[in-house]
């Protein structure tokens, strides 16, 4: 698996999304751009790992788990 690189701001937006602090309608322009960038990275990783049969219902949580597990 390629190493996942995330900026501080991307980590911040991931945590906010997972804590239910971002609403799709009230996300700022910056939050939208950051979250879209995270989604693009997550999709690329899904393609690389062919992970479409993985058991998950939250792409951001799945990606965050992958990010955290790579440092262990």
């Amino acid at each position: 698996m390629s190493k996942i690189e995330l900026s501080e701001k991307e980590i911040e937006v991931i945590k906010a999304q997972l804590n239910g602090e971002i609403d799709g309608w009230t996300a700022t322009d910056e939050q939208q751009k950051l979250l879209t960038g995270v989604i693009n990275k997550a999709e690329a990783l899904m393609d690389e790992l062919n992970a479409y049969d993985d058991d998950f219902d939250d792409l951001i949580q799945w990606f965050w788990n992958k990010y955290q597990s790579q440092d262990k």
Binding site: Q17, G20, E21, I22, D23, G24, W25, T26, A27, D29, Q32, K33, L35, T36, I39, E43, M46, Y52, D53, D57, D58, L59, I60, Q61
Partner: protein, 209 residues
Amino acid sequence: MGRNSGGVVNISSGGAGSKNAHIVIQAVQKSRPLSDIKDKSTYNEIFRGVSRFESVMGVRERSVKMADLTAMNALGVTYIKGDGKSNGILLNSTFFDRKKSAIEHDVKTKHYDTGFKNKTNAPLQHTITHELAHATWNASMQTTNAKAAGKEITSLYHRFLGDKKKKGYGSYGKTNVSEFWAEAVTKAIHGTADKYTKRVKNIARKYKL
């Protein structure tokens, strides 16, 4: 599951341990009927959205009221209890108690132009449709039918994520299965039909959501 998201808040614990649940419980107590909306074209457009949702999805009208949700920075919220069933929808009065043209301008410039949300030709109706979809099904629901529907919706969500040819979807619907459901239902009602819109309509009817 049972977690809270921006669109769905579980108030079964009485607000303990969740800032958003506490805010929603207070907001429910202070909620007002939609007939309090000053701009009648906004009020009428919301009800057109509710009626269209019912006719396309075959789902009964839900309790929809208005309250100040500024403290949780949400445009609208579906509040649920232990079994995950919807107890109602609150729309944020600071957003909805405005002129229809102002609301539609905001949705177009802040959510359509950025590619974050599906584009529709009914931006105001889109906002209410999205909330009604969360009330119809979300990943926190624990009823037998909702869990059975959840398996099909999650499988569909995975197909959606792997589909590089899909058209007309914003990026937010990819974040999790509940947001995928809400945006696919929105496209089923206000957008161009595709294999995902057909499936979500079938699932809603099959499981009597």
